[in-house]
């Protein structure tokens, strides 16, 4: 096991990793920007090192400074959290060449899975169902047209280097496809430095279901069941839950096994998430792999009883998985609401500022993961996530009721939060009946 780890992140995930380190008996070195100097979670680490001014590009994203902090902090490994450098294959490569452990997959696996087109090729090789689409990157407008006619409109043009819901364009006929093709390539080049685009059938009104997997360095890969993240706004997840409602047991089983097959084919170790979309007929299709720990990992932790961060650190230290697939039994129902410092009444605009008062909910089956408390100033430089409210109950109905109770108990004064939109979603009959898709929030709740 490592003696010391650098936590190369901030906010709630930094706190999460520091907590896991404390339980494992591993020393932690936190990093911070000048804007985060007074964050209280830094005191829980054994050391805190400032790596730059507020702007992420000048601090948390500065590979040289993060590595320097790792060196003067005398750590054996770096945990990258999520976002920032967590899916930066070059960073993972630098760690390796500096003989510092990277708590995540190998740079090769990360690069292969990070490129959406090569991930798709890998999925096809692993016999994982993919959305019907082009055979690799499109070499010309003509190829785009032929592919679209073959698989049928509407189609989705996707940037291979894109992510987070960006770099996608829908085309519903030859005419729009022709103009979309040129624009998509140019945009991809400008936004991601890579003009490569490919084409897939556009699945309208899909559900978003992802499978958590973990692999060790000894070839073992286990899935920890699925999370349904259909409740989104502009491709940003608002609510996640498990099990995925309305998924048949056969589909669930097939999806989870497909995720494991893909991870094994990729030689993947560490935690990762395989994302699928599910069409209205219940067919599932591979979308992409997130080769990092995710924001919504607590959902899986509660449903399976497995501490994913500790498992991830153990795997990185070379330990074999301490559980087999048969040990992973889901129990009850879990819902997570992401609490952001955003104002739903005003286009979800970010609301940085000082939190004057804060009351945190509790009780049976209620978990609140947050680095924030009264007196904390939410900085404007980073994402607006201030906490994750997670609820675990025996049934979905009880989970919804408890989440509503907990959301009403949660008091944050000084900044606006997304609590009102969560209450609205959770009281909507479509959510109760699970008759929603990824466009539900935008179509129904936001004028």
């Amino acid at each position: 096991m490592f003696k010391r780890i650098l936590v190369a992140n901030r906010g709630e995930i930094a706190l999460r990793v520091i907590r896991a380190c404390r339980e494992l008996g591993v020393e932690s070195v936190a990093i911070c920007s000048e804007a985060d100097r007074d964050a209280s979670y830094l005191e829980l680490a054994d050391e805190a090192i400032c790596v730059g001014p507020a702007r992420a590009a000048d601090s948390y994203l500065r590979i040289d400074r993060v590595i320097s902090a790792a060196e003067i902090g005398n750590v054996q490994a770096i945990h990258p959290g999520y976002g920032f450098l967590s899916e930066n294959a070059h960073f993972a490569e630098v760690c390796r060449s500096c003989d510092i452990g990277f708590i995540g997959p190998t740079p090769e696996a990360m690069a292969q899975l990070g490129d959406k087109n090569s991930a798709r090729a890998l999925a096809l090789e692993a016999k994982v169902p993919c959305v019907p689409g082009s055979d690799g990157l499109l070499s010309s407008e003509q190829e785009a047209l032929e592919t679209a006619r073959r698989i049928g409109y509407p189609v989705l043009l996707k940037a291979t280097a894109g992510g987070g819901g960006k770099g996608m364009r829908v085309a519903s006929n030859d005419l729009t496809l022709q103009s979309a093709f040129q624009q998509a390539a140019a945009e991809a080049q400008a936004a991601f430095g890579n003009p490569g685009i490919y084409l897939e059938r556009y699945v309208e009104r899909p559900r978003h279901v992802e499978v958590q997997i973990i692999g060790d360095m000894h070839g073992n890969v286990v899935h920890l069941w699925e999370r349904d993240c259909t409740t989104q706004r502009r491709h940003q997840k608002l609510i996640e839950e498990s099990p995925s409602p309305q998924l048949s047991p056969e589909t669930r089983q097939a999806m989870c096994e497909a995720a494991v097959r893909l991870a094994k084919t990729a030689g993947y170790h560490s935690t990762g998430t395989v994302e699928f979309i599910v069409d209205p007929d219940g067919n599932f299709f591979f979308i992409e792999v997130n080769s990092r720990i995710q924001v919504e990992h607590p959902v899986t932790e509660m449903i399976t009883g497995v501490d994913l961060i500790k498992a991830q650190i153990r795997v990185a230290a070379g330990e074999p998985l301490s559980f087999t697939q048969d040990d992973i039994v889901p129990r009850g129902h879990v819902i997570e609401c992401r609490i952001n410092a955003e104002d739903p009444a005003h286009g979800f605009r970010p609301c940085p500022g000082r939190i004057e008062k804060m009351i945190v909910p509790g009780g049976f089956g209620v978990r609140f993961d947050s680095h924030v408390s009264a007196g904390y100033t939410v900085p404007p430089h980073y994402d607006s996530l201030i906490g994750k409210l997670i609820v675990h109950q025996p049934t979905r109905r009880e989970a919804i009721e408890t989440m509503q109770r907990a959301l009403k108990e949660l008091r944050v004064e000084g900044v606006a939060t997304t609590v009102p939109i969560h209450l609205e979603i959770l009281s909507h009959s479509a959510f109760h009946d699970s008759k929603i898709d990824t466009t539900f929030v935008e179509r129904t709740l936001l004028g």
Binding site: I49, V51, G52, S68, A69, I72, G73
Partner: protein, 155 residues
């Protein structure tokens, strides 16, 4: 440098004593006030101290200003670290430190080295003035923005 007890600052014995002290402690400049008299001794490039009398004698308390204890700290400039790494006072263990207390420096003067990822970076002062304090131990780990050297820009 401890305050000298009574005596006229223009007493030649006093001045010689001060010159000896400057050489011994490798000081480049001393500024003394006593009553209404002021003397500034400065060691030049050829290592011979030159005496410059104050333009007009005036009444002032006898006190030798100690560079480390200037009353008005807020006027001091602080050179902070632009990177994360390890602080070194000199270019090698055998070399003399880049700066010491009392040194006069300019914006291009190297004040220290910060080693990061096996690269040795010379850190420029960015300010002019007299070094008031070196705030970090040789070989200490340094974070971004950490104060390294205090400089009196008015000296």
């Amino acid at each position: 440098m401890a305050a000298e007890s009574s005596g006229d600052v223009f007493d030649i014995k006093q001045i010689r004593r001060l010159i000896e002290l400057m050489k011994k402690h490798d000081l480049s400049e001393i500024d003394l006030k006593q009553a209404d008299q002021q003397v500034r001794l400065k060691r030049g490039a050829d290592d011979l101290p030159r005496v410059a009398a104050a333009p007009a004698p005036r009444l002032a308390e006898p006190a030798a200003a100690q560079p480390e204890q200037k009353a008005d700290d807020s006027k001091h400039a602080v050179i902070t670290s632009p990177m994360v790494g390890t602080f070194y006072r000199a270019s090698s263990p055998e070399a003399a430190p880049f700066v010491k207390v009392g040194d006069r420096i300019g914006p291009e003067s190297t004040v220290c080295i910060i080693e990061a990822m096996k690269v040795f970076n010379e850190i420029p002062a960015g300010v002019s003035g007299q070094v008031v304090a070196v705030l970090v131990e040789n070989g200490a780990p340094i974070e971004f923005g950490q104060p390294l050297v205090k400089v009196d820009p008015e000296a």
